[in-house]
Each structure stands twice: as C-alpha cells, then as structure tokens.
C-alpha cells in the first residue's frame, strides 16, 4: 500500500547552508526520476521545471485543542493539486525557509486524511553548514529543531573546516539527534539516491536504534535540544505503555520533538514500533520477531527532558518481575 503513496522529502536548513545547491543538483542530475518541488522563493532555482510550485509557508493551528498541533495548509492544497496532474512524478520535495520549524510539515502527514491517502512523509533532510552550525545551535531554537527533526543531516561545506572541527560539529549533531544519519559533503555533493526514497517514517524501518546511543547521559545538557534514550529488559505491558505515553505526549508534547521506540510487548512474538512528532503518535506491530532476550528501547529528542522521570515512567511499563 505504501508503495502507492507519493514520497515527500522535506528539505530544511539555514540560509546559506547549501539547500538551493542541493535542490539544483537533484533537479538537474540524470537519475531518471522526476520530482515536484515546493519552494518559497520563486526564481531562486536556476532550473526550468514545470513541477516547481511556488508556495507561501502557511501554518495554522488545528481546532482540536492541541496547542502544538500546527499544520501546513498550503501543503494540503498543493499535494491535492499535484495528484490531479496527468504528468506523473516520482516524489515531492518540500523546501522550508531557513527559519522554519519542520514540525508543522511533519504533522500535516499525520493530520490530513486527503494527504495520507495520497502521499507519505519519506524523510526530513537537514542541510547544515559545518562552519556555522555551532553558532546557529547556540543562538537559534530553529536550528536545534531542524537538527532534532532530521532523519538525515547533510554536514556540508566540509572544505571550510578542519577534520577536527568536522568531528566536533558531528558530535554536536549526535548530542541533539542520535538517530539521524549524518552524511558528509562539500558542495552538497551527496548521491541523490541516499536522500530520497528512504522510508524514514515507515514504522517497519525503525529497526536500528543503536544500543550505543542508549543511557549516554554524559552529555549533561541542561538547555537546548538534546536526546534521552532508555532500554528496559522485561517485556512491556501494552496497556500501561499506552496510558503512560499518551499522557506524556499530551502533557509534554510541546517539548518532545521526536520520539521513537522499538518495544517487546508481553505475550507478543512480533516487535512493536512506535514514533511520534510532538503529540502526533503512530505505532504498530512489525513482521519482525522479537529476538531472544531482546530489550525494549525508547529515544526522546526534545527540550527539558527529565531523564529520571522518563526512565521511571518507562520502567514502570514493564510487566511485573
């Protein structure tokens, strides 16, 4: 079913990080695929493409009481319009402005039935400038959010930094987002096939929460965006977990940017995969058997994460010893 849905790649990154260079490369390279591109600045791209859509980023709040439930209305309209075209395309790329928070784009794919019926969020790709990212992370909440939401971070302009600086900035990215794949580049020279059609939001692909990310509390961040990862040994009581996580997302969803988990549910031979963007959550059993002695893992990326409280909450979801 998901193969029928048009994949949508969200491209974020601060001004000057190399987003436009990357877009131009995607649109001009001979890779045999056609992409519709939704951009904010018409004429910024040097390519003549009848699938370039000029849009204003228009965010609105859903009237459902969730304070952080903001959605991109223009995307709902544009995806609906593009799907009526006879000339088909292989995917849609949505460029966000440098200062944009990626959450409303991602939430659009959870909220709108029409969008869900036609398209799927494939991955959030963030282009980061290796030289300037540390300063941006220090002075901008949006920069942290763009790293936090990313499935793929392109660490660009490596020719402007020393190998040591590159390693240091990569460690900063890891501290914010332990789950993203980091791709190093100089002039956004990343193979297109490693960015598009990634299925990063497919629950079946949440298989690789690396145990080395877990329980690494030594970052010791007290402010900004960072991650907290936990694992528990005993199987999870589904009812307890659902109650805990839904309450948590309701109360703390504004601070929890992304959540991902792979759970071993008591009495269930298959793995349960879970993900959330702020309060919007999605979870399902996967056709992957739970391994012997397999632990349940959960990663939060957000602000003001109370690690002891989160750990106690997750631990309390286990079945009685």
């Amino acid at each position: 079913m998901s193969e029928m849905l048009v994949p949508v790649t969200v491209l974020t990154g601060f001004l000057g990080a190399g987003k436009t260079t990357l877009l131009n490369r995607i649109l001009t390279e001979q890779h045999g695929r056609r992409y519709a591109v939704v951009i904010n600045e018409f004429g910024e791209l040097g390519v003549d493409n009848d699938l370039v859509v000029d849009a204003d980023e228009e965010v609105f709040e859903m009237n459902n009481g969730c304070i952080c439930c903001t959605v991109r209305g223009d995307l709902i309209r544009i995806i609906g319009g593009l799907m009526k075209r006879s000339k088909k395309f292989d995917g849609i790329i949505v460029e966000t402005t440098g200062l944009a928070n990626p959450a409303p784009v991602a939430q659009t794919f959870f909220v709108d039935d029409g969008v869900r019926a036609r398209a799927r969020l494939d991955a959030i790709v963030t282009v980061a400038d290796a030289k300037n990212l540390p300063a941006r992370l220090a002075d901008s909440a949006e920069a942290s959010a763009q790293i936090a939401f990313a499935d793929i971070v392109i660490l660009n302009k490596l020719d402007l930094v020393t190998p040591e600086e590159a390693d240091a900035v990569q460690a900063r990215i890891r501290a914010v987002n332990p789950l993203a794949r980091i791709v190093r580049a100089t002039r956004a020279d990343v193979p297109v096939e490693t960015l598009l059609h990634q299925n990063a939001f497919d629950l079946a692909r949440i298989l690789d929460i690396d145990p080395s990310f877990l329980e690494s509390d030594e970052h010791g961040h007290t402010e900004g965006v960072y991650s907290a990862s936990f694992e528990v040994a005993r199987p999870i009581d589904m009812q307890k977990f659902q109650q805990w996580i839904s309450t948590l997302l309701q109360e703390k969803g504004g601070d929890l940017l992304r959540t991902k988990g792979i759970l071993h549910i008591a009495g269930e031979p298959r793995r349960f995969a879970f993900q959330a963007v702020h309060m919007m959550a999605d979870g399902d059993f996967q056709d992957v058997a739970v391994g012997p002695e397999e632990k349940s893992r959960l990663v939060f990326i957000g602000r003001d994460l109370n690690r002891p409280q989160l750990r106690r909450g997750f631990e309390a979801c286990q079945v009685a010893a």
């Binding site: 859509v53 000029d54 228009e58 009526k84 006879s86 000339k87």
Partner: protein
C-alpha cells in the same frame, strides 16, 4: 435504488467519453449550448450540443485547476497550474486574460448581466477582478492564500475564503476594505446564500462555518466524516447542500436554522462518500456524485432519488447542471466524462419512481 433504472438513464439519454485524465471541473456555458471539462493533463474538452465528438483544446501546460462559464453567452474561462487565466471560445480559440508569473491560479468565478459582468480568479493571496473584455479592474489582497471564491447572485459582492475566515468585498467599491468574517482555522471553500443572507465556508476540520450577514451570528455545522469539497445553496436559499458524508447533507436555512437544527440527509449510500453536489438552477433538486462513481438526483420535498448510472470504477470529481436545468454533466477522477439530457421528461423524478 433500482439497478435496471440506473443503467438505462445514462445509456438512454446520455453520452460518455473517455478523456484519459482526471476531470477536475465541468461546466456549461451560459446559453446552455455547450459543456466543458477541465482535465489534469491541461486540456479543456468542449462538447457542443448536438455534436457527437468532443473538441480537445490544449489550454494549460500542467493541469487545469478551475473552470467557469464566460460572461458571454458561450465559451469558458479556465485557470491552470501554469499560472494562466484563459478565455476559450466555443470553437476552441484561446485568449490569455492574465498570467500570474508561474503561481497557480486555483479558482475562477464569473458573473454576467445584460450590460456586462465580471470575471474573478484567485492566485495565492490575491483575487483579481476583470471586466467582460478581460481588462483587470482591481486586485483584492487577503491575509493568506485564497481557497475559494464566489459571487453573490447580483455580482455586487464577492466572497473569498482563507485562513481564519472569509472576506466579503463589494465589487464596485472604490475603497478596498472587505468585511472580514472571522473564525479561527483553515477555511477551504466558500458559498454565498442566494439572497446574500449568509456566507458559508467549508473547513479543514470536517465541518462548515457560516456567518449570518445581518448580525454576524455564527453558524457551526459539524459531524461530517470527511472534508466537504463541494457545497452550494438551493435556488430558493432554503437549503445548503454539501458533500463530505455518505449522503447529501442538507442544512435548513429557514425557521431559525441552521442553528440548533439537524441536517436532512438524502440519498444515503452506506459507507460511500458523496464527493460532489450540484443544486438545480430552478427547482429544489440536488444532483450528487459519489466515490463509487454513482450520480443521482434527489428531490428535497419528496426525498425521492433518481439514480442515473451504474457503479463505476472511479469517484465523481466534477458535476454541473445546465443553466435551464435540463442537462447534467459529470466527470470522474479516472477520466470518464458524461452528459445526460433530461429534457425529454419535464419531471424525471416522478417518471422514474412511478
């Protein structure tokens, strides 16, 4: 609902054409001499009364986004995602009225009277108004992208839906200040009551919102399982018909309604979404198209339902009455387009249900 009757009406009184692309819009010209279908491949297909073969016009480089009758007796106005607004004559000649510079033109509307008329199109936050000659008269600017436009029945006012409400403009006004009808959220389409008593919008949250214009009273109409993509008032203004449920949902605009009233639901097809409605230009009849390809006509007073065709492979995506109400055109997402002539019987519903 009788299957035998459905097969006969379209085949006995109608023609169907395979057009090969998503039918985005259908409409008749003002004289009722021809019907046009706007397609996802950018073409506009013209079907003249009495002609057996349609005429295909390569109108837009991309997809047609909207279509309406020209202000003249015949011909059409079309808009596309190539950012052009075109006048298309019955013989297929194209005149470009406006080019947005690439930005999608998503909506068009026209109004005609003996001495003139107006053409409107919406592109981004702007609604552009043109006279019958195609000269741009003015541009109305909104706080966010315009998602629907509608003239009132006399062409005095035009309503535009957008984020957080709708704007109601006097078309001839020198001062460019609209009456802002506010309601938080994303409004996705608009309709004006025929006596200009109310403006109603469809909303992202599977509901409708209305404003009574005399006193600004809010009207909240909710309970839809899906978004309303098609809405309109009946000729008398007594009912607001809408898609978005597995029936035609009709809200009463009389007796104090719709506030505190339940809607009337007609022509329910269980678990099949009604995707398009079109109110009859003269009588209290509503045509409706469904996700299973069914098109039917429902009479509000008797609640009688007349199916016109069989279940098809594709959802109905366009539906329109001829100006005299004797012809009905519809199109589907998969590219079927049909025209049915109902004029042989003055009262098709009574004839079929007897």
């Amino acid at each position: 609902m009788s299957e035998a009757a459905t097969a006969s009406l379209l085949s006995a009184r109608g023609v169907t054409h395979e057009l090969g692309a998503h039918v985005i819009a259908a409409c008749f010209d003002r004289a009722g001499r021809g019907v046009a279908f706007g397609l996802g491949d950018g073409s506009v297909v013209l079907l003249a009364a009495g002609a057996s073969e349609p005429r295909r016009v390569d109108a837009h480089d991309g997809a047609v986004m909207a279509l309406c009758p020209d202000t003249r007796a015949d011909g059409f106005i079309s808009a596309g995602d190539d950012g052009t607004l075109l006048r298309i004559s019955p013989t297929g000649e194209i005149t470009k009225l406006y080019a947005s510079g690439g930005k999608w033109i998503e909506h068009v509307a026209s109004f005609a009277e003996p001495r003139g008329g107006l053409i409107a199109c919406a592109s981004g936050r702007h609604v552009h108004l043109f006279d019958v000659a195609g000269q741009r008269l003015k541009t109305l600017t909104h706080p966010s992208t315009v998602t629907g436009i509608a003239f009132d029945t006399r062409g005095k006012r035009i309503a535009a839906s957008h984020y957080n409400g709708a704007s109601l403009w006097f078309t001839a006004s020198k001062s460019n200040n609209p009456r802002l009808l506010e309601w938080k959220g994303s409004h996705t389409g608009v309709a004006i009551h025929p006596a200009t008593d109310a403006v109603v919008t469809s909303m992202q949250e599977n509901s409708l919102h209305g404003w009574r214009l005399s006193d600004g009273q809010h009207m909240r109409m909710s309970g839809y399982p899906a978004k309303t993509e098609s809405l309109g008032f009946t000729r008398s203004g007594k009912w607001l018909a809408s898609s978005g449920a597995d029936s035609i949902v009709l809200w009463p605009f009389f007796g104090g309604g719709p506030m505190g009233k339940l809607p009337t639901e007609l022509a329910q097809i269980e678990n099949v979404l009604c995707t398009r409605i079109a109110c009859h230009p003269k009588d209290e009849l509503v045509a409706a198209g469904y996700a299973n390809g069914i098109v039917l006509i429902a009479q509000i007073s008797s609640q009688n339902v007349l199916p016109l065709n069989d279940v098809g492979p594709s959802p109905i995506s366009a539906l329109a009455w001829s100006p005299d109400g004797a012809g009905l055109a519809f199109g589907t997402e998969w590219g079927q387009a049909a025209f049915i002539d109902l004029s042989a019987s003055r009262s098709p519903i009574r004839a079929a249900s007897s």
